[in-house]
Amino acid sequence: MAQVSSISNEQSPTAKSITLKILRYNPKHDESSQFMEFDVQYEKWTTVLDVILDVKKYFDHSVAVRYSCRQATCGSCGMIINGKPKLACFTKISELNSNVVTVEPMKNFPVIRDLAVKFEKLFDSHQKIKPYLIRDDTELVSDEKEFLQTPKEVEQYIQFANCIKCGLCNSACPTMATDSSFVGPQALAQAYRYVADSRDKGKDSRLKMIDDSHGIWRCHFAGSCSQVCPKGVDPAMGIQLLRGYMLGFSS
């Protein structure tokens, strides 16, 4: 432990105290990572991101954390909180039921510094599955001016369109833990999202990309990706449905 600090002034009467442990590591300077401890105050509504920002404000401004929207929309503040991947802005201290809150950078992503990780591979995999509608024609010149869908057709993929690319699913995946070539649940679920879209005509090129030993066949349906998804995307379902389609179980 490198440091113990606490806020001693201006305590709210309803505030409680916890110990926040932050894993610090700068690959450019440090030989190894180490935890730093901070005693911080929290209210019923305080999120993990709030207390990390308190630490930056009052104790150590050099703590590196990526965040933006603070409302589980941008997908920037994913990290390991008490051992599980979560969004820091979407996790309240009070719901953790612990006097010690440990935050670490997401697993299976290279660390930039402290809690900030590189997303290049996630975005590369996402880009490889062609995350856009593929058609020969375009709605800009079509007489109908838009590609109409029934509510039933929308339901086939809308759940998977909620993905915010936070990377929590890739961090929880047991295959990602050991296979650096695996496409990952995020990209596979997005492949299903576009394959299931009735407007899309690029199914063959997408399936060709994921029909690989390090692609969809490497998923073992452990389901951890779905358990940690903060937006209810359920990547495990999308992957199994897509695999069922490729195996001929469904049309």
Binding site: S32, K107, A222, V228, Q240
Partner: protein, 143 residues
């Protein structure tokens, strides 16, 4: 900390404590698969003893009549039953069977793929493996 990739590694892959019974089933499936592979190799070696004639064959068979041999075979029964029953569940899941249907998710976002059918399948595999093992032990030690 391996900073180049920062992967969890095998330790993270086999940690069954964080993601519920599905991850426990994942670990047991892998362990039983490796165990059965090892048994398959050992079984080939065991049956090859027949080349040593009846005496050699009987000598080796005596190993399975010991307490250790019985426990070993009981573990093989457990692995075999669990891997078979859970394997059927996983194969159906891989085919998209029983994983739910896509729908607009409502908070708190219970994943449909982790539904009661799969949980029943996992618990059934564990219970059936335990029952088969107990039956096997009763037969072997009841002689």
């Amino acid at each position: 900390m391996p900073q180049d990739e920062h992967r969890e590694g095998i330790g993270g892959m086999i940690n069954p404590t964080r993601y519920g019974i599905e991850r426990v089933a994942y670990l047991l499936m892998r362990l039983s698969g490796l165990g059965l592979l090892a048994y398959f190799v050992a079984h080939i070696y065991e049956t090859s003893n027949i080349l040593r004639g009846q005496v050699g064959w009987n000598e080796f068979l005596e190993l399975t009549q010991t307490t250790g041999g019985h426990i070993f075979l009981a573990i093989v029964i457990a692995m075999c039953v669990f891997h078979t029953v859970n394997g059927i569940r996983v194969m159906l899941g891989h085919g998209g069977v029983g994983v739910g249907k896509p729908a607009r998710p409502d908070y708190p976002y219970d994943p449909a793929s982790q539904n009661y059918r799969h949980k029943i399948g996992i618990y059934s595999s564990i219970v059936l493996a335990a029952v088969a093992t107990m039956y096997g032990l009763a037969v072997m030690f009841g002689e």
